[in-house]
Symmetry: C2
Subunit: 300 residues, 2 copies
């Protein structure tokens, strides 16, 4: 990324890279039932921003690596993200009929197939992380570390745990620390592991990995606060779902606890904290700085 | 296992080993929401036979390894098996209220929590396979191979794919080759990978791994045929679910295509074929021989 580049161009180019890779990594799964492949592809290519894979590639470059080596991991992260959206949207969970302006997976394919499509994406993500033909320049011990970190971020103490806390907390008024813990697990853990694994794949040392952890935690929380603010103030056409939906469900959000002004201040502090972290890595970390700022600008 | 040992004693002792290990491996997941842990434990300790982990340990020993080294992998296989049962029982899939004589996970914890408990078990299985403190005597490249094999067996071309074929085929009359393909994916792939991973962890060469593949494919199919026969002829108290349930759902089974007698003959041929495979490995493979025979005896 040159300084003349706009972030939009950078994100658009990276999105293409990620989507081409997702296409190629899914292709060898020929032999899967057609209907399952269709259900998986429907959600995987439903127009996501590809933020997690883009973060993973940017983190690899920020510590001096090449994005190519991190690409399979980047795609695995997107597959796990997509599975979580499919399952979260189910009638037994958030019961959402639309996501990104399109009918959700279970509306199109039925509940049973949507559950299985999610299960397939989660499993294939780990398959991708372990396949011998990819990430050949990364030492096997480092690849195991990547798998362990991703599984921890996605599992009982991470994303799944966060979703459980979210489901159990619905309709209850949560304290700020409880709300933050829930989001740190539900969204923050996977955003954090996106930058951490990118750095690990690129051969980062402990200090650089710690920078990525602190960056990830801050943008993770910032991302959720921005989302909460947008839910109150945003345009439903931009969001692809109805605004004000949190309030109508009785969800505790940052604005309901802190108010809009203090939520905006907290968002700004997190974004500048995250940017300051990665600025230590020098100019190579410029995309990570700009992505942190972009999270806040979504909320303009 | 000495020749004086009964298989029942052997299976009972191994079951204790596996359950103690499952307890210890789940313990570090403190930090997960209590309700999620309760839902996961409810199904994980619901009285399964632990056939997959026992096969994994027995395969490690059959090629000259020690069972201790294969124990984390054995437990991961049981976690994946348990997740698949929880999701298969959901109202959107088989809609079963009872399993092994106990109310199913979603009946006790609700559908949303049952979906998440399954997601958690699948994810934690991969976490266990990758954790640095386990399987330390196994080379990282071999551990990656284990993860890749397990993910492939559980994924779109394996178990999840098989479940999709099962759901789509319900109410239709399937041809024998289609029925066999469905079961090979749905049940056979995970049984096969149980013995294959045990052998890989123990350092087996290609010839021994190929023996395990052929053994696994045959017992996998035998297991399903025995199950189908038991569903027609069995005692519902023994099975923990109602007999005749396949017929009432219009499921194609081996007895509906071949008749009971020919199904029994096919079962016997598969079991003796599987036993013949592992007998090449010598006396260390005795438990695998006896487990193959046991699959047929269930059906006495």
């Amino acid at each position: 990324m040159t300084t003349a580049d706009s972030l939009e161009d950078y994100l658009a180019r990276r999105k293409v890279l990620v989507e081409e890779a997702l296409e190629s990594f899914l292709a060898p799964e020929a032999g899967a039932p057609e209907r399952l492949t269709a259900a998986v592809r429907y959600s995987l290519f439903a127009g996501g921003k590809r933020l997690r894979p883009i973060l993973c590639l940017a983190a690899a470059e920020a510590v001096g690596g090449v994005w190519e080596e991190a690409l399979p991991c980047a795609c695995a992260l997107e597959m796990i993200h997509t599975y979580s959206l499919i399952h979260d949207d189910l009638p037994a969970m958030d019961n959402d009929d639309y996501r990104r302006g399109k009918p959700t997976n279970h509306v199109v394919f039925g509940e049973g197939m949507a559950i299985l499509a999610g299960d397939a994406l989660l499993t294939e993500a780990f398959h991708l992380l372990a396949r011998p033909e990819f990430m050949t320049a990364v030492a096997p011990a480092r690849r195991l570390m990547v798998i362990q970190l991703v599984a921890r971020a996605a599992g009982m103490t991470g994303m799944v745990g966060g979703q459980v806390l979210d489901v159990l907390g619905e309709g209850e008024r949560l304290a700020l620390d409880v709300l933050m813990d829930m989001h740190q697990r539900k969204t923050g853990a996977m955003l954090t592991v996106s930058v951490v694994t990118g750095a690990v794949i690129a051969g980062a040392g402990e200090a650089e990995i710690a920078v990525m952890e602190r960056y990830g935690r801050q943008i993770g929380l910032a991302f959720q606060i921005a989302d909460d603010i947008l839910n109150v103030t945003g345009d439903s056409a931009v969001m692809g779902k109805s605004t004000g939906s949190d309030a109508s469900r009785g969800k505790t959000t940052f604005p309901t606890i802190l108010g809009l002004e203090a939520s905006r201040a907290q968002l700004a502090a997190l974004v500048s904290g995250a940017a300051a972290e990665v600025k230590r890595l020098g100019r190579r970390a410029e995309p990570l700085v700009r992505i942190a700022e972009y999270i806040m600008e979504r909320n303009a």
